[in-house]
Symmetry: D2
Subunit: 339 residues, 4 copies
């Protein structure tokens, strides 16, 4: 199946390319950026001699001629403009932006007015652990954010055991690539190196995505206390999740429960020891660790992912696999950047 | 006042030296390691031409002859052997090890049998915010650990507002220097660089120190859920602390409360924004940030310190200042390693 | 073809495994360490669910039963003991240690007495750019060191243009993984992070390997001034090479010359801009840059490799490919760890 | 003596402040940036509670009223506008930009047309090792660049022993703070972290500064082959310098020579082992190491400095000390950021 990438210059665009050039069933036939008109090796010198091709200026007509599915790796707001056009032409779309992840009201509160309600209604949230069969039939998939992916995967197995009305505390830590390639004071090397700090604590715009999806999954309103923090490293994300367990569940073997919950998920590993960033960096794996403090009925969970892969590009390919009728895991990266 | 350092080769030993060579009232007259017989510039080449002196093999007789106060920066167990001898000779001691921080039973559960109960009973826990007047009269001060220092300073102002029986969640992150100079797999550059991971979650031996001191301070049993994590950076520690606030206190202005609580503490800064490691690294400051999530009655606190200074060596000098009758803050470092 | 790895626990062992589990023609049937008796995922948690297998205690008899070719990723001195046994049993060997790289006299000057002269005489130096046809017929290949690989690839195209009797200056910089997994002060995170320093300048034991091979290749005695330096990063190596060009050659287009020289080498890229570590890390590529200072007749060359791959494990697989009659480049990694 | 800083927001501005607030004889009475109208702790949160003051919008009239000497830490071109005004008002100036370092022709070739020839003619190059007595009488000092400082200090002791017409090869490595606070692709954390690369090899605009000063110092035309490289660390600079020694000097003890040369320079340390970045970071020290390769008559020198201090701000204070008639070394930082 012929596929296209719009937004080839960023980190998630690069990761998509790296997966797709070796994918057994997708053929990458079109690459675009907003400027276009360059060689791929100019954008990404590491790909010289690996995949030599020209990068176009994005045009939906041209895409419709040659590709059946498009990966959109462009900023929010830009994305919905493309989706509107591409869906008119019946192209399948995996959108990596935030534009189709949230209910209209929530989206507009945190971003901008939405211009494509029609497709927003029919978009499927691309988390196969929750919506596999819907994704298989979807025409437009909203690829989850990296913080929500790690948070939701580490939380959903335990929602049914949680004490009523207790908040879910998520102390999240991300590598700098999560902030994208755009220049900002926060991503200047001198600001980040040998440093560590939180940003937008209790106030980050990924919070509503996490709350909305956990509430949907559990059928109850879920409250999340979310604190994102920036690590002095390039890729990966580890979230510490603290859940108050209902006393009646305090004798459960939670490791056993999560193993059972994910027994069919080949790319989720339940770990004996706390996960490390470098064991997931470069892969589609989500590593999960649980420990229970019986005295306080507090469950401690850590979930680790590569923010650019499981948190973006390899998840996008998994979603595309499902939309195309392939095996979910076809062509996904398994071998970590370790050491 | 003439002072000595036993344990000059490690990181905390080096930091003590760096403070004491410019201290207006302490004169550093004796430096020792377990091996001795070397030049200081051999141990710490950065001090060549700055402070040229010989490092001895530690002998308590010799120390007693020339110094009135000793800083012990040696491993636990080794420390109590020295303390026993030094106190016999009536030398004042600031002990940076864990040997005199805990009740006998707690100590022996996490470390080894204690051989110096006599002094253990009379040792004062060296946190001036809690025990300033006791330290002024003390002969032996047990200098707090770095995790307990950051945890306690970030927690005590809020204990009175906490919901009964709720645990205090501490998601702690430390730079690698906290693990000391000893070689281990965990401190190998390749293991730590571009990586991040927790160790001993819910199970770290600093937990009882935090619980014991918070319980003493509040007059109630306090339960701490403590997760230490290793950051890929050299120095500094930031602890995220989550406290469930009693509903009746949910209208308080917590920032205001903590400012009031620490209004006389020159080296505690209440911050408008989350603290960063580099703003405290190199100094005695503890930076504190608070934000309250009213919906869930969860108070989020971050406390940041330099683990080697406020978490060890500059705190030791503050304690020595008090023991010697000087101003608590005399000669303490104020200017951060930033950028 | 069935292959074995002895020395599975180190960094180069891990890289060999990562290449071989996806290699189209080699089947990895045996993994050993000096201790043995463990699961691979215990040694390398990143491989859990990717390649589950047992690691043995190394026994040459057992190896001979099931494998045709062995990769030896063990320390020097240990290696020659294995080679002696394995060659008796006619197993093909790629030895990643220094044991068979040098002439006996040179080896013994820098290492220990050699115990396997017989095989030493017949070992082939595994640099396909110099000895491809010999490697194709070899039974024992001595895999080059990382510093020599980057140095030689960056130097040989220009030896014929060099001014007589001028030394070759190599200012080399390596990531910390080049020092191996063994614990040492030099590889402690706190020693390396935010730091940079040279070690063994003019005196490193890779110097004779570089000089011997360059002298052989050029038919003249070559003198190298070699300074290795440690970078605060995990993987990769970039060598700055300064060559004094004979005045009669000062009008040559050196970029053109090196492109011509390596026109059949798919994994050598001649770059327009100075290479970066991250464009080669994770791959078998060697990136080369040249610039000529006409005023002083100085040619500046930079050669960049992944020290663990082109400088060790992927080169070992390339050599094994040739020994087995396969295409040199079969199964070698092309996609960089970037970002 | 009352002093002012114009350009308080950048890294060198911050370092000037950190030195001056503890300086025994300079009183920092005025701080300005191009925007002004803010609190110092807004610009540099690390200085909160350390030095609370207001930052003005730079006005030369106001400066002239209250200060006798100004440190200019603004970009080149901006600097000469200020100098022109300030010198009219007879204010002493230490200019940290490139505007007064070079001969007019050289400056205009690499930068922009010069608008202040008058003062350019009388500016003194602020390297006390070369021009101490001139600086003592100077009204305007052009503070050297960081690359030239490290390069010149490592080279001048050996110029008299160099082989005629041989180039000086300088393989330089700098921390990222040398590039300043301005945002650029090159200083994005993801670009630099775990990476290493050269920029502008053979072509950097610091080359003419080095060549001009070495030529002046030696009375001969000196040719430099200069390659700057970016290290994944915040502060510090180490230059590898390769000098071809005239055969007649090949029996000299070069370590002895450089010790003799710098015997009165308290802040130059001749090292037994290659210098490390962390031993000079945070200080005014320049650490120098020499080793001689007799076979090739190549002298290898490494010079290490803190690029923001010896390479900028502490050197500026040393120059100001001399201009004010104080001891050169008054108030300069001696204690390294190590660990």
């Amino acid at each position: 199946m012929k596929v296209a990438i719009v937004g080839a210059s960023g980190y998630t665009g690069l990761e998509l390319i790296k997966i797709l050039i070796n994918h057994p069933k997708f053929e990458l036939v079109y690459l675009a950026t907003s400027d276009g008109d360059t060689e791929l090796s100019q954008l990404h010198p590491s790909l010289e001699s690996v995949f030599n091709t020209t990068v176009q200026k994005a045009e939906t007509d041209k895409i419709a001629e040659i590709a059946e599915l498009v990966f959109l790796a462009v900023p929010h707001k830009t994305a919905m403009n493309f989706v509107k056009e591409l869906r008119k032409k019946e192209i399948l779309v995996v959108d990596l932006s935030a534009d189709y992840r949230l209910k209209k009201e929530t989206y507009e509160q945190f971003y901008v007015p939405h211009i494509d309600e029609e497709n927003l209604k029919n978009a499927i949230y691309g988390m196969p652990e929750l919506y596999k069969s819907e994704i298989q039939k979807a025409k437009l998939v909203a690829n989850p954010g990296c913080y929500p992916t790690a948070s939701i995967l580490g939380t959903i197995p335990f929602l049914e055991f949680k004490a009523k009305n207790s908040p879910i505390i998520i102390d999240a830590k991300s590598g700098v690539s999560g902030a994208g390639k755009k220049l900002s004071e926060t991503t200047h090397f001198v600001k980040v190196n040998d440093n560590f700090f939180a940003y937008s604590p209790l106030n980050h715009r990924h919070t509503p995505e996490i709350e909305e999806k956990l509430s949907l999954a559990s059928g109850e309103n879920q409250k999340v206390v979310f604190v994102p923090q920036l690590l002095p490293l390039t890729r990966g994300m580890i979230n510490s999740i603290y859940i108050t367990i209902d006393k009646k569940n305090s004798d459960l073997d939670f490791k056993n429960r999560v193993e059972e919950f994910y027994k069919n998920s080949k790319f989720i590993r339940i770990r004996e020891k706390p996960p490390t960033m470098k064991d997931v960096a470069g892969t589609h794996f989500c590593d999960i660790f649980v420990a229970f403090d019986k005295e306080s009925n507090t469950l401690f969970v850590q979930s680790a992912i590569d923010n650019l892969l499981r948190g973006a590009s390899s998840l996008a390919v998994a979603n595309a696999n499902l939309m195309a009728g392939f095996d979910e895991y076809l062509g996904l990266p398994t071998i970590a950047y370790n050491p």
